[in-house]
Subunit: 286 residues, 4 copies
């Protein structure tokens, strides 16, 4: 494996806490001629689990395979690890339906250089956003979904993801539930945006639920999609104040701004390898 | 009924929307020589309900009874109304258990002149805060509560409230559930502070629930207590960001700041007659 | 003047406070068969000034001219007034330079139906956003500006605004200072977005200033442009937390989200006739 | 030097960035039998400066002097360092005048166990809070300050601080400016709370300034006091939204809640050795 000059490597580690992990990791990097650019760690004292994100400049003169070697080191420390080259830009598929606010927001942020990854395709169960997608110079895939052909549709979706080598799926207000089967077969993790401050108002029409309950805040939650709907590990949440003057349509309008910001933040963190999932929670090294 | 000079009157109105309400109310006040200091209104278009808060300086030279007369006017408009003289300071009972952060906060704000009402007594199921209460120059009542004598204890509480002419009960982290029976018999409305962003994490130990779920925000909710626990009309909510570094004890500590601010805001609004309850919601004319 | 069915009229009033204004206004509307949909008011007690926004459904059967008549009524009350028909959609010119985040945001919100007005043209001192503007189906005007021909350029800008009957200019990160002369000649008010929490960091490169000072929050401010740069009446401000990890480029990126939301909010309020300017301040009836 | 069981040591390091610092520090700790509980670092790439906070459990069986030895290690790495035993609780002096909200807040938080330090005394230029201080069981010092005897008064203050071995001065709305001379002679750093979002509204009566300018947010800033008034390194800032309805007295009331929370946060961080000052900025390892 050849590395470019100033190659940055990012590693995420997780495993049983024990003395010396930080020293071993830092010592290994220093011994190979690397220089740590960023290191952050977390210890779940109750569970006895240690988490670390470490990013370093690795010398191009190293003739070994630092990724394989670092993975081996982590194994000797009893740690699970994922190692990434920062220059590799993950391929993203954006799933949409008809709502276009998160769609435009994600596409424009990508065009503006905010993401450490690239959008390879947009996939939708409607044709509404076909032309807009093409305007961004991105391939558009229409995969109709109906109760009868859901399984078939998901098989087609998985085929498209594989064909493009997709590494992250972003549900930008995609209004279909991905099945258990899809999620277990997809090699790409899936980030979803839910339009409430979960766990409040899970399920359908959360702004309507919020209006009926008379809450004084509304929110949005970005989370990894799992088989349990709206129960996946939460990545980011934001809220806004509302009051009695705001009808459902106001909540929907105000909520759009939350959804955009929260989803974009989650995608940015994921692409920068800042998120570790454990159990049903996330550690975010921001 | 005699009024002092510069007497301010505050009226809250609620009823079926129809043309001319604002004109009738404003015309009546003007006709009696009053001057409107503040008027705010809200229309629930779906339900066809109109809400208004109007505050005005009523001339002391008026020899009639403006409160009775205004109430009669409202009736002719088909509106339910509550009318208050601003100079009347409602009597407050603060219910506490052992936690003292909301207790001190409410007492100090009152001493500092933030509230348009007065604390007449503190009532607790523990003796922990007896001395601190006396330090504020406020009578302290200890009413022990146990499953066996809950009914009896509540009867005693109601007797104390009546004796003092209490007009508002503030549950400042009082760790007992007030029964249906108590709430229906109490002439004073009850404001409670719940330490989560309801409807999320209703019930016991909400910070522990929040920690387990891995949310990225925590919150506090002030609401009127009703027979349905944690389901009463929400008055105010605030939240704070948290992350994976925060353990349960951090959530509890950070949450205390939320609870204090949210509860105090709700009490302030209530005492200034800014809150109208309808159905399970509130209109807050802030 | 003919009115459509269900014609809504909005009036903004300002003038010396005195008893009976609310009653007179409400009485007049009721007398003409109108029904008040929204009324809000404010009293600056120190200055003795009264402000009101009132919106009402005016009957189409009224054969008079309600706008002229209401204006006359206000005059008899000693109030300055502006009266608008809600169905009239003001024409907007968006001024841009090279930054495109506020540009896309404003255009997409307009397309999404968030604004009670229409974008008639985009005007820029650069050609960078010409194609993107055309993609939105909006005319693009390029008016080069240089120190030498600033006066000439502004004359051309004013001519374009007049030609299109522009009623609001939105500076969506337009990187030129509009001269005193331009502002006094423009019939359309001008809303600007400044990328700091004014009055902190007025002038050029506010994110760089903020970084140097080591502040823990950054902000954005929407204000009406006046001859005194960055000193105009503030309409809306929002902030975000930052910390030592954030370099200037992070502040710029995070700030973009603030700028978009704050500018859009100010434009929305202006178009809904919710803003009254007095002295160097605003009253916003939201 | 003898250490208790489970002794935690906290070190703050700052110096020129170079490869291997993390490895050296972690290696040293591991080699001495310590276990890192928390490590965080920051790199100012422009300035080429590296900052680190590291906290570790040091074995009680170590017969050497870990503080002296670690300081020596840091010196060999070219780093300035401060090393603390976590069990040592710094002594705090709270300076107050007549306002009591921050005073009560700080004292109650201390009593509630929020601070990793202890309040040794309250010092005031007025006698207003003498009795309240005694109610908390804390010695009260009255040092009158007048333009004529400012130098003398400060000499007395410094004497009191020295006598008590004070390690942190908290200006809890102390309404006197500490002179250059005082600040250079005081061995204890001084944390001040300013009632605006600095650098806006430096100087006197910031809420009045904010009201006149018509801002839509107010704020509070905790900073280390330096010779340049209101120009010291900022530790924490928070803001609240306000609108045209809020008069100066509302800003003052709402601002009190900000001041309390912001000052307490800064004090908490300082006592936990989470703050590194460099130039006129802070790195806060929270």
């Amino acid at each position: 494996m050849e590395l470019e000059q100033n190659n940055e490597i990012i590693a995420l580690l997780e495993g049983p806490d024990r003395p010396g992990i930080v020293a071993s990791v830092a010592g290994w990097i220093h011994g190979r001629g690397g220089n740590i650019a960023h290191a952050d760690q977390h210890r779940d004292s109750d569970a006895g689990v240690f988490f670390q994100r470490v990013a370093w400049q690795h010398p191009t003169s190293d003739e070994g395979d630092p990724i394989a070697d670092f993975t081996a080191l982590a194994a000797t420390l009893g740690m699970r690890t994922k190692v990434f080259e920062a220059r590799h830009r993950p391929k993203i598929a954006v799933f949409v339906s008809k709502f276009d606010h998160c769609f435009h927001d994600i596409l424009l942020r990508w065009k503006g250089g905010e993401f450490a990854g690239d959008i390879s395709l947009v996939l939708s169960n409607h044709e509404t956003l076909a032309r807009a997608t093409e305007g961004y110079g991105v391939p558009f895939y229409h995969v109709a979904v109906s109760p009868q052909r859901k399984h078939e549709a998901e098989a087609e979706q998985l085929r498209i993801l594989r064909e493009h080598g997709i590494e992250l799926v972003v549900m930008a207000r995609y209004m279909q539930i991905l099945s258990d089967d899809f999620l277990s077969k997809s090699e790409a993790p899936v980030i979803n945006i839910h339009h409430s401050f979960l766990p409040a108002f899970a399920g359908a029409r959360p702004y309507h639920q919020a209006f009926r309950r008379g809450v004084k805040i509304i929110g949005a939650t970005a989370h990894y999609a799992t088989a349990d709907l709206d129960e996946g590990p939460i990545i980011q949440q934001e809220v806004l104040h509302v009051n009695h003057r705001h009808g459902v349509s106001d909540l929907i309008r105000k909520g759009r701004d939350l959804e955009k910001v929260v989803l974009a933040q989650a995608v940015r963190w994921h692409l920068e390898h800042r998120i570790l999932v454990y159990g049903n929670k996330t550690v975010v090294f921001d």
